[in-house]
Symmetry: C2
Subunit: 223 residues, 2 copies
């Protein structure tokens, strides 16, 4: 019974995610779903990314949280349009929440939409939102055993951002160990080491992302 209901929920979610994906493609919007534990640095990472992209690209953000709107306010202070979704009790965003939030954004005026999911290494992985890219952040103080404990998130994401590299020496986080265990789960995982506090490594990530966005533009122009 429970399993059947869960399957129905996931199937219904998939259908809406496909609709969202179609709409994003029509409008030429590249969409990133950012996931991590609470406090791994999703908002700081998005702010750093915005800072570097805002002169060249039109970026909007959807903020997902169980409660509060502190994150959307931080994004708006940077001058980007931001919509806050409060999930009530739900521990993840789903495709329908995104579909509703899109009513508050003008997709014709957006190149890149960044969705910050609820802080949770488990449930968000299961719910597609229609995004082009699933990105997860793991921060060094969380420990290097996370690929073993939360394998699904590492398997489903195509980008892993290792954040809080500036705290590496204050922790026993072993970069090589994480890279190895993550690669075992997902050989195609693209890994970036960054510090959103010092800014270290952000350039590499932004350069990679810009290439993706420009490639998308060229493809659309050829249509």
């Amino acid at each position: 019974m429970e399993i059947k209901v869960l399957r129905n929920i996931l199937e219904a979610n998939e259908a809406i995610a496909r609709e969202n994906a179609r709409l994003f493609k029509d409008k030429g919007v590249f969409v990133i779903n950012v996931m991590s534990s609470p406090g791994a640095g999703k908002t700081s990472f998005i702010l750093r990314t915005l800072e570097r992209l805002k002169d060249d690209f039109k970026v909007a953000v959807i903020e997902g949280d169980i409660a509060s709107k502190v994150d959307a306010e931080k994004i708006q202070e940077q001058g980007a349009p931001a919509v806050q979704i409060n999930t009530g009790g739900a521990c993840h965003l789903d495709a329908n929440m995104i579909k509703n939030a899109l009513n508050l954004l003008n997709l014709d005026d957006i190149d890149l939409l960044i969705i910050e999911n609820v802080g949770n290494l488990v449930c968000p992985a299961e719910f597609n939102l229609g995004e082009d890219l699933k990105l997860m952040i793991l921060s060094t103080p969380e420990g290097d055993d996370k690929p073993l404990k939360y394998p699904q998130m590492f398997t489903l994401c195509s980008v892993l951002v290792l954040n809080k590299i500036d705290l590496l020496n204050q922790t026993n986080f072993n970069l090589r160990k994480v890279r190895e265990s993550a690669a075992k789960l997902n050989a195609n995982l693209q890994i970036f080491e960054v510090s959103c506090t010092t800014g270290r490594g952000i350039d590499n990530w932004v350069t990679w992302l810009k290439n993706k966005l420009l490639l998308g533009w060229i493809c659309r122009k050829r249509k």
Copy 2:
């Protein structure tokens, strides 16, 4: 439909949680449910607690994780009995998982049972396990906005452990702000500031816990 099923699941969980609680009471076992984000330091905190209690109390641990048994192995190295529950995909422990795990422990030979829940600030809060005490850990690198974003966890726990106090100066974590916002949600919250790396603050916590355990013993002797 979904809501009804969720309610049924929670009600079934409550019934088993009450059974577990009755059994714990009969056997004189005090039970703590330890919850936090991934990587906030649950296992390190339990190891520090074990270290200080093991000469005076008989402690066992149930380790909950989606996958892997690394945590149970760390506990066993400390000489305490440990049972590992792997939830498969589930993002929280439930009362029935605990009930099954109890078959692997001799409750007559245990004073304190510590349950380490799956790393998640959301779902574990909703599932009672039959415990005496819900404890949550928040670590300084996670940021001081967590009471705003995950209010239920702060409301339902009676102990909040602020961990990684040794990293306070490397973060912008504001202790006073967290204490205030947590107290607004839960005026009775008992707060401990600790570092599981340096050991700072662990004494305060262990003294408080010992008092609770001894008080329980005295009450049982009077029965």
